[in-house]
């Protein structure tokens, strides 16, 4: 059961979107979010949506995978839409009941707010679905490099993140083993209410915790034995390099932001 957990939510592939430099994709997500928050009208939302649909189509990510990812935010989307629907101010009253008034402006605000949230999440999925965790970490490290001047331990943070990613499968395997060992001695994990289930997990977590300390110690020794001494003077097997497609993609992102801002100026 634990083996089903996927690392992050990366769908390997070889499309243009997959091959884009992780730095490009991270920056594009930032620009995309900026565009989304500047969009005010049906037209500008339409432009951002077209951009999103185009990227999804190019990346060949199945729509079902995208929609599955939306499940956890359904509640928030419904709630915020409902609040917008009921509390947005406007003159064109459609319906009135007790203390609630629904206006045309309210309907518009509700729909656009739901669209904004869904498009926001889908846009970030485009990054995590098409970029391997290692590449994502590497991209973040390079983008944050200027922060080193402010004494932010950029290399150390990136190394910690990639170590965590490295150990997830190992720890899942170990959890599986411990749970099997406990089951063999009569432990039950699938019965009882939530509190009972949580209590049953305690004897699993304690040994898991202890062994991860031992593992961390051994791993640190092995890293030292292989001459690890921090980020200073380190080189890389795979070096990231911006290609033509990166400039084109980023230009398209900037164009999107510009278009949305111009549309907002025009009152659309």
């Amino acid at each position: 059961m634990l083996r089903d957990i996927t690392l992050g939510q990366f769908f390997p592939g070889s499309t243009v979107v997959h091959r884009l430099d992780p730095r490009t994709k991270i920056m594009m997500v930032v620009v995309y979010i900026a565009a989304l928050f500047n969009a005010k009208s049906w037209v500008s939302y339409g432009v951002v949506l077209a951009f999103l649909v185009f990227s999804i189509a190019v990346s060949r990510i199945r729509l079902s995978a995208m929609l599955r990812g939306l499940k956890p935010i359904v509640f928030i989307v419904v709630l915020t839409s409902l609040l917008n629907l009921l509390y947005a101010r406007g003159e064109d009253v459609i319906a009135h009941w007790w203390i609630f008034t629904i206006t045309r402006q309210g309907v518009k605000a509700a729909i656009l707010m739901a669209a904004r949230l869904i498009m926001l999440v889908m846009g970030t999925f485009m990054l995590t679905y098409t970029t391997s965790p290692i590449m994502l970490t590497y991209g973040l490290e390079l983008l944050m490099n200027p922060l080193k001047k402010l004494k932010v331990p950029v290399h150390e943070l990136a190394m910690m993140m990639s170590m965590a990613l490295r150990l997830i499968p190992t720890l899942i395997e170990e959890t599986d083993k411990i749970m099997s060992a406990q089951k063999a001695r009569g432990a039950e994990f699938d019965t009882g209410n939530l509190i009972e289930k949580a209590k049953a997990m305690l004897p699993v977590l304690v040994p898991l915790f202890l062994s991860s300390f031992r593992r961390a110690d051994e791993l640190a020794t092995a890293m030292e034995a292989r001459c690890y001494h921090g980020g200073e003077g380190r080189t890389r097997l795979n070096v990231l390099k911006f290609a033509r497609r990166d400039y084109l993609a980023f230009a398209a992102g900037l164009l999107l932001l510009a278009a949305v801002i111009v549309l907002a100026r025009l009152g659309l």
């Binding site: 990639s162 051994e218 292989r226 890389r236």
Partner: protein, 284 residues
């Protein structure tokens, strides 16, 4: 010895206790040893004999509390030389899971050269070469956690080879492997010694593995108790058993036969040698 690469002189070591009242117990006491270039030395000893602690002194993971350890003419206490020492003396550990640092095989093998600041094109060259040496080249883009224990250990060895060390210390590299993985790892160790001319130090408690070495060093309670070629060491069946070690099955058989009055040699390390010796004896 002229070609000495590792010189241990009167080495003493203890782990500093957590509270000050406890008197620390020596894990190593007065160990002296010289290891020559290109030799294959097996260090034998039961659990707690100090053999792993000794290994960790060879690449400055631990520093002597008394005596000196000199590696390729460098004193391990000199902090300036630490990286230089670790580059020359690679180390492979027992648990392959706890020494692999990346989610991609080739990235893991590249870890040491990356740390050493090797230029990118040369890293690629070293990684490919190291993966070919251990026969894992076709797995270079795989995720290590999906490989078998033996395969993971071969990746770990490749990760050390990519440093191009002059000497490699194996700290019980086969203890967690199945028989097939064990055979593969031992084959690679043999190849490193014969083809790459590396100095190999193998910490083990498998007699069959120690039998492949040129020289066997036996440790007990932090002291060096025997030192010699395997054929000679393994004739001391009773002493070894008193130290909690068992001799290879072939030697044990000959020893039992001798006890029952047969005049057979004790120096048979392989099954073939053993069979030949028996055929020779009974053929007379």
């Amino acid at each position: 010895m002229d070609n000495t690469v590792i010189k241990i002189d009167d080495l003493t070591f203890f782990y500093t206790p957590d509270d000050e009242d406890t008197v620390p117990e020596d894990v190593l006491s007065g160990v002296s040893l010289e290891i020559g270039q290109g030799s294959f030395v097996a260090v034998l000893g039961h659990n707690g004999s100090g053999k792993s602690t000794l290994a960790r002194h060879l690449n400055a993971l631990l520093l002597p509390k008394g005596g000196t350890v000199t590696v390729f003419g460098m004193d391990t206490k000199d902090e300036e030389l630490m990286l230089e020492i670790r580059r020359r003396v690679g180390m492979v550990f027992q648990n392959p899971d706890n020494q692999i640092v990346s989610n991609v095989v080739e990235e893991d093998v590249a870890f040491a050269p990356e740390n050493l600041g090797v230029p990118t094109p040369e890293i690629r060259q070293r990684v490919d070469e190291a993966l070919k040496t251990v026969g894992m080249y076709k797995y270079r883009t795989h995720a290590p956690h999906l490989l078998s224990g033996g395969q993971k250990q071969r990746i770990a060895i490749a990760g050390v080879l990519a440093m191009r060390p002059k000497c490699v210390v194996f700290d019980e590299p086969t203890a967690m492997l199945d028989p097939q993985g064990r055979r593969d790892v031992m084959k690679i160790i043999g190849r490193m010694k014969n083809e790459l001319g590396s100095t190999v130090i193998l910490i083990t408690h498998h007699m069959e593995e120690a039998a492949l070495a040129d020289r066997v060093v036996v440790m007990s309670d932090g002291k060096l108790v025997m030192d010699g070629p395997p054929r000679e060491i393994f004739t001391h069946v009773e002493e070894l058993e008193a130290l909690g070690l068992t001799v290879p099955g072939t030697v044990k058989l000959m020893w039992e036969l001798r006890r029952r009055g047969l005049d057979v040699p004790l120096s048979t390390l392989t099954v073939d040698e053993c069979a030949a010796a028996l055929a020779d004896h009974f053929g007379k």
